[in-house]
C-alpha cells in the first residue's frame, strides 16, 4: 500500500510578478498598457514642460503657409501658418482630461445610483420606491440620443470647454446606472452573498465589500473603453464648432478636424486632416487595449490561468504525511527535526 500523501499547493507569487506574467501572456494588452503609459507621460510633459516637446505656441505664425511635413514642421502648417504638430500635442492634455472628467463623473454618479437601485430593490418598501425612481429617471435620459441631448444642453449651459464637459456628463451617467444595476442584480442573489448575511455581516458592508468587488471588473473595463468614447463624442461636438474653437489659444482635436475639413482641400493636404484624426484614433485604441488587459488582471480566475499557462509553474505536489493528526508535529524530540534522520 502506498504511503498517505497530502497535496501541497504552490505558494502565491508577488503581485508585480503576476502582473508581468499576465502582460507577457497577452502582448496586445501589454502594448495597450505601454501606449496608455506613453500617452499619459506625454500629456504630463506637455502640461509641465511644453518646451521639451512642443516647438511652437498654438497661434505662433511660422511664416510658412501649407508647408509639407518636414523636420521643422513634422505635420506641416495650415492656412494661417500655424504648426499642426504643436497644436496636436498641446491638445493632448485637454482631450485626455475631458475623457477622464466625463467618464469619471459618470462612473461616480451612475455607479452609486446603480448600486443603490440594484441592491435595495425590495418592492413595496421605501428603498423599493427609491430604486424605482432612479430607474425611471435613468430611462428618461436614455430615451434621448446622448449626443443630441448634450448638444441641446450646450445651448442652455453656454459655449466653451467647461459647459460642454458638464453637458456631456449630464447625459453620460445613465449608462453606468444600467450597467452597474444589472451586474448588482446578477451578483446579489448568489449564494455567497447570502452566506455573508448568514455570518452576520451588515448590509452596508455586504454591498460595499462583497458586491462592489464582484461588479468591479466589468465596470472598470467599461470605464476604460468609455474614456475613448467620450473623446469621440467631445470631438464630434467640437467638430461642429460648438465646444472648442480652432484656431485659438487652447487647441482641441475635434475642433482642429472641423477647421481643417472646412478650409483645406483634403486631397491637397491630407496630413493636416490625418494629424488630429490619428491622435483621436490612437488614444481610443490604446484605451480599448488597456480595457481588455484590465479584464484579465481583475478576474482572479483568468489571472491565475494566465500565470499557469505561461510561467513554468511549480505544480501541486504530493508529499508524505508525517502523522494522521491535524497538525504537523512540532520538532520536540532530539533528531525529530533532522531531515537526515528519517532517510
Amino acid at each position: 500500500m502506498a504511503a498517505p500523501t497530502r497535496t501541497v499547493a504552490p505558494r502565491p507569487d508577488h503581485p508585480v510578478l503576476v502582473f508581468w506574467r499576465v502582460m507577457k501572456a497577452n502582448p496586445l494588452s501589454l502594448f495597450g498598457f505601454l501606449l496608455v503609459a506613453v500617452i499619459g507621460i506625454t500629456a504630463v510633459v506637455v502640461l509641465v514642460a511644453p518646451h521639451l516637446l512642443v516647438p511652437y505656441a498654438p497661434q505662433q505664425e511660422t511664416g510658412a503657409i501649407f508647408a509639407s511635413p518636414s523636420w521643422q514642421h513634422p505635420l506641416g502648417t495650415d492656412a494661417l501658418g500655424y504648426d499642426a504638430y504643436s497644436n496636436v500635442m498641446l491638445a493632448l492634455p485637454l482631450d485626455l482630461g475631458i475623457g477622464f472628467a466625463v467618464a469619471g463623473s459618470a462612473l461616480l454618479l451612475g455607479g452609486t445610483l446603480g448600486l443603490i437601485a440594484g441592491f435595495f430593490d425590495t418592492p413595496g418598501t421605501g428603498s423599493g420606491w427609491l430604486s424605482l425612481s432612479i430607474m425611471r429617471v435613468t430611462d428618461i435620459f436614455l430615451s434621448f440620443p446622448s449626443l443630441i441631448l448634450a448638444l441641446a444642453l450646450t445651448r442652455v449651459l453656454g459655449l466653451g470647454v467647461g459647459p460642454t464637459v458638464l453637458a456631456i456628463s449630464l447625459t453620460w451617467w445613465p449608462y453606468y446606472v444600467r450597467l452597474v444595476r444589472g451586474e448588482v442584480l446578477a451578483v446579489k442573489h448568489l449564494p455567497y452573498i447570502n452566506a455573508a448575511r448568514a455570518a452576520g455581516v451588515t448590509e452596508g458592508r455586504i454591498l460595499l465589500r462583497h458586491v462592489v468587488r464582484n461588479v468591479l471588473e466589468p465596470v472598470v473595463v467599461f470605464f476604460t473603453l468609455d474614456v475613448g468614447t467620450v473623446l469621440v463624442t467631445y470631438s464630434t461636438i467640437a467638430f461642429i464648432g460648438v465646444a472648442s474653437r480652432y484656431p485659438g489659444p487652447q487647441p482641441e482635436w475635434g475642433a482642429m478636424l472641423g477647421y481643417y475639413q472646412q478650409t483645406e482641400p483634403i486631397s491637397a493636404y491630407p496630413w493636416l486632416i490625418l494629424a488630429p484624426g490619428l491622435a483621436v484614433f490612437v488614444t481610443v485604441f490604446a484605451f480599448s487595449l488597456l480595457g481588455d488587459g484590465l479584464r484579465d488582471i481583475l478576474d482572479p480566475r483568468t489571472r491565475r490561468a494566465f500565470v499557469r499557462s505561461v510561467a513554468p509553474h511549480e505544480p501541486p505536489k504530493e508529499v508524505p504525511v508525517a502523522e494522521p493528526g491535524p497538525e504537523p508535529a512540532p520538532p520536540t524530540g532530539i533528531g525529530a527535526s533532522d531531515p537526515g534522520a528519517s532517510g
Binding site: 497530502r6 497535496t7 501541497v8 499547493a9 504552490p10 505558494r11 502565491p12 448568489l190 449564494p191 455567497y192 447570502n194 452566506a195 455573508a196 448575511r197 448568514a198 455570518a199 452576520g200 455581516v201 451588515t202 448590509e203 462583497h210 468587488r213 464582484n214 482572479p300 480566475r301 491565475r304 504525511v321 491535524p326 497538525e327
Partner: protein, 385 residues
C-alpha cells in the same frame, strides 16, 4: 432541566408565487437542547431546507412569509424582530453551512479574507464595538460598555503603568498577526493540511471538499450557539462526502454548539444525529431518538422511506419505491398529508391532521426526547412489510 437553545413552535411558512400559495412548512414544532444534534430528513421539496433557512430568517421575504408560529432562540422570539436585530443574531448566535460549497464562497476573496471577516464580526461583538445578541430577557442590551480602541488606550495610559496598559489594550485589540493565527487555528480545526498556503488561495483553486471545509471553518469561527448545516455533504462526491462527514462527526464533540443537520440521506443522519425528525410535505411526521426511529419506525412514511433506501451490502432484487407521488403543496391533501399513498389509510385520516404524539400511550404528551409519530395507527406500523 436545561433550556433549549432553539424552540420552534407551530411554524408555518408559505411561498407566494404568481397566483399560487405553497405551504412549504406547516405546523412544525422542534426543540434543540445544548450540544445536541438534531437531524431533519425528508425527500426533496418536503420543506426541510426552507425550515433551515427560516430559523435565522434568511429566506427572501417575499416570496416567502412566516404565516404563524414562533422561533424562540435562547429565549427570544425571532419572528417579530426587525432586520437590524436579526443581523445581530446571525453569525455568533446562529451559524450556517450551506449546500453549495462552490458558490457559497466569494470568488474574489482569498480564504484568509473570508474567514477573517467572520472572526471580525464575532470579535467586534465580543468587544462591545458593535451591538450583539445576548439572549434572555433583554436580548439586545450591552453586556459591557462600548470601548473603542482609542478610548481604551487613553484611559489606561493615564491611570495604570505602561506594561499593564499594553496588556489591557492587547486584550481588546487584535492585530493582523492575531487574526492570522486565529484563522490558521480554524483551518487546522477543519483538518486542512498546509493551512499557511491555503490562506492565500482563491476559492476556485480549491476542491469541493476543501471549500466545504472552509465554509465549516467560517461558520465555526463565529462560535455560534446553534449551527445549522443545510445538506453540507449533498453536493460532494461520495468519497469527499465521507471525509466531510467524518470531520463533522469529530467537530460535534469538539465545538460547544447545538447542531441542526438537514439531509435527504438517511445514512448521514443515522451517523451524526442524536435525534431525528422526518418531514413529509411540509409536516413533521415522526420525531425521536435516531436509533428508535430508524429501527422501529412508527409512521408509514418513515417505514416506506427506510425500505426505499438502497442498501450497499445486500442486493435483494428490485429497488422499492413509494407508490403515488409527492402532493402539490399549493393544494395539499386534507388531514394526514400522506394519506393518498398510505397502506393503512382509513376515513379518519382524511379528517383532522393527526397530532405528533408520543407512540407510547403511557408517556405524557408534553414529554421531551421521546419517540413521537403523527399517525392515528402508529401501533400498526410495525406490521407493515
Amino acid at each position: 432541566m436545561t433550556e433549549p437553545v432553539l424552540d420552534v413552535q407551530d411554524l408555518s411558512i408559505t411561498y407566494t408565487v404568481g397566483a399560487g400559495v405553497f405551504q412549504a412548512v406547516s405546523g412544525v414544532s422542534l426543540k434543540i437542547f445544548p450540544r445536541r444534534v438534531v437531524g431533519i430528513v425528508g425527500e426533496t421539496g418536503c420543506g426541510k431546507s426552507t425550515l433551515a433557512q427560516a430559523i435565522p430568517r434568511l429566506l427572501p421575504e417575499p416570496p416567502a412569509s412566516i404565516g404563524s408560529g414562533r422561533i424562540i432562540f435562547r429565549g427570544t422570539d425571532l419572528v417579530p424582530l426587525p432586520k437590524r436585530q436579526l443581523r445581530m443574531v446571525r453569525g455568533t448566535g446562529i451559524g450556517m453551512i450551506f449546500q453549495e460549497p462552490l458558490n457559497s464562497l466569494n470568488p474574489a476573496f482569498r480564504v484568509y479574507d473570508q474567514i477573517v471577516e467572520s472572526i471580525q464580526v464575532r470579535h467586534y461583538r465580543e468587544m462591545g464595538w458593535t451591538r450583539s445578541f445576548q439572549g434572555g430577557e433583554n436580548p439586545f442590551d450591552y453586556s459591557k460598555p462600548p470601548i473603542t480602541a482609542s478610548a481604551a488606550t487613553s484611559l489606561t495610559r493615564a491611570v495604570v503603568p505602561a506594561g499593564a496598559a499594553e496588556e489591557l489594550v492587547r486584550d481588546r485589540l487584535q492585530s493582523r498577526s492575531d487574526y492570522r493565527r486565529e484563522v490558521l487555528e480554524y483551518l487546522r480545526l477543519v483538518r486542512i493540511n498546509d493551512p499557511e498556503t491555503i490562506l492565500g488561495l482563491y476559492p476556485h483553486e480549491l476542491s469541493g471538499g476543501m471549500r466545504q471545509r472552509i465554509m465549516i471553518a467560517m461558520a465555526l469561527s463565529a462560535k455560534p450557539s446553534l449551527l445549522i448545516a443545510d445538506e453540507p455533504t449533498s453536493a460532494l462526491d461520495v468519497t469527499i462526502q465521507a471525509q466531510v462527514l467524518t470531520l463533522m462527526k469529530e467537530l460535534i464533540d469538539e465545538v460547544d454548539a447545538a447542531i441542526l443537520f438537514i439531509s435527504h440521506d438517511l445514512g448521514v443522519i443515522a451517523e451524526t444525529a442524536d435525534e431525528v425528525g422526518v418531514m413529509y410535505a411540509g409536516r413533521l411526521v415522526e420525531y425521536g431518538p435516531v436509533a428508535e426511529v430508524f429501527q422501529s419506525p412508527r409512521h408509514p412514511y418513515t417505514k416506506a422511506l427506510l425500505r426505499a433506501a438502497p442498501s450497499t451490502y445486500k442486493s435483494e432484487g428490485p429497488l422499492h419505491s413509494i407508490a403515488g407521488s409527492v402532493p402539490n403543496l399549493s393544494r395539499p391533501p386534507a388531514g394526514c398529508r400522506f394519506h393518498p399513498r398510505c397502506p393503512l389509510v382509513q376515513e379518519v385520516c382524511r379528517g383532522a391532521p393527526p397530532p405528533l404524539d408520543p407512540v407510547d400511550p403511557k408517556v405524557p404528551k408534553g414529554a421531551e426526547g421521546v419517540h413521537r409519530s403523527a399517525c392515528y395507527f402508529a401501533a400498526e406500523v410495525p406490521t407493515l412489510p
